[in-house]
Amino acid sequence: MDGIHDMGGMHGWGTVAIDPDEPVFRERWHGRAFAMGAMSMGLSGTNLDAFRHGLERLHPYEYLADGYYGRWLACAETLLVDSGVLAPGAVEARARNLMGEQVTEPADVEENKPSYERGGAGSLREIDDEPAFSPGDRVRAKDMRTGGHTRMPGYIRGHTGTVQALRPAALLPDTNAHFQGENPQHVYTVEFDSAELWGQDAEAATLRIDLFESYLEAT
């Protein structure tokens, strides 16, 4: 989806400051949000790709307002509510009660976890298909436009690069995130020249991006 998460190449974000003394979790709730975010996938019967899509589906304000762990927390809530593990509004009502307000909490709802086939743990899969491409092949990133989840960054759409390496096959996030099957595929590292992506005045650089076979077409 063309969302706030697809940040490659955007302008306007300012500069980057490194804090050499940054702790792993700056606030106590950062750690709690991280741990519950990680567990929310299992608790909601979903998966890592659905979690990433949950992050993308947050309103851009919610995506940014409380930083990385803020979106993990909001995403955990999204997945748990989608799956009926928690009722809509349950977290907000509980939070208001914790702050001393007197709020009626919503009744539990029926669980609605997704039902789908899993091909094993993790994301890597063994497949028998011959790879369609080999290192050295010229390939074009398809002009894909989906409103759902994808791991093809928008900034390479329609651009041409060179296959640099074949990586282990992996399940396809585009369908797995929506519980439509794993569709494991070959994955390639494709190299693009910065001028191909950003124009002739681009800073000299090469970009290497990992792309699923169905994202690519021969040139």
Partner: protein, 199 residues
């Protein structure tokens, strides 16, 4: 559209986290001690000290270096480092001619077993947006100036492969032990936004 910018009545994430934890624990879905254990592992057991051991061994053991570059996941597992976000780790080597740097433009993918959780700057929209478009300028702003004749190679971790940069061993370290070398290796050098200095 909902007005998400109305902050007067917006709940803090701290209280939302507390609320979520209380809802999950009272349903028996989560135990607070399990969350504690998970957090402790991320704070104490994984982090750049793991990656630094990998780099120092590669600097002192040519066979290990070759193995690491050929099969990062396997060579790293030999030192005891594996786990979530480490299903397939690829090690990319810096040289006089090529400088590698890693980003995740779509989220904040990062090789947890060897570097731990990503620092704030790695998750910053400025880093995610600019590293693929103006890497030399951004690296310079972060304190790393590269010669024009060095190829800047940016790795956008868009699938499940995770990348670790093998930095160049600094001059003047020929007499150092593997342990002393590991102490020089920084997280920032293993992501590719800094070089390792001899101290």
């Amino acid at each position: 559209m909902a007005d998400h910018s109305n902050t007067t009545d917006r709940l803090s994430p701290a209280v939302r986290a507390e609320a979520l934890e209380s809802l999950l624990t009272e349903r028996g879905l989560v135990k607070s001690e399990v969350l504690d254990g998970f957090i402790n592992r991320m704070v104490n057991d994984v982090g750049p000290m793991n990656g630094a051991k990998v780099v120092a061994k590669a600097w002192t053991d040519p066979d290990y270096r070759a193995q690491l570059l050929a099969d990062g996941t396997g060579a790293i597992k030999e030192l005891g480092f594996a786990g979530p976000q480490g299903e397939h780790i690829v090690v990319v080597e810096n040289s006089d001619d090529v400088h590698n740097v890693v980003v995740c433009t779509l989220c904040s993918c990062y090789p947890w077993p060897v570097l731990g959780l990503p620092p704030e700057w790695y998750k910053d929209p400025a880093y995610r947006s600019r590293m693929v478009r103006e890497p030399r300028t951004l690296l310079s702003e972060m304190g790393l100036d590269l010669d024009d004749d060095v190829e800047v190679r940016v790795w956008d971790s868009s699938a499940e492969n995770r990348y670790l940069v093998l930095p160049q061993r600094p001059d003047g370290t020929a007499d150092l032990s593997e342990e002393d070398l590991a102490a020089l290796v920084t997280r920032d050098a293993m992501v590719g936004v800094a070089k390792v200095s001899a101290g």
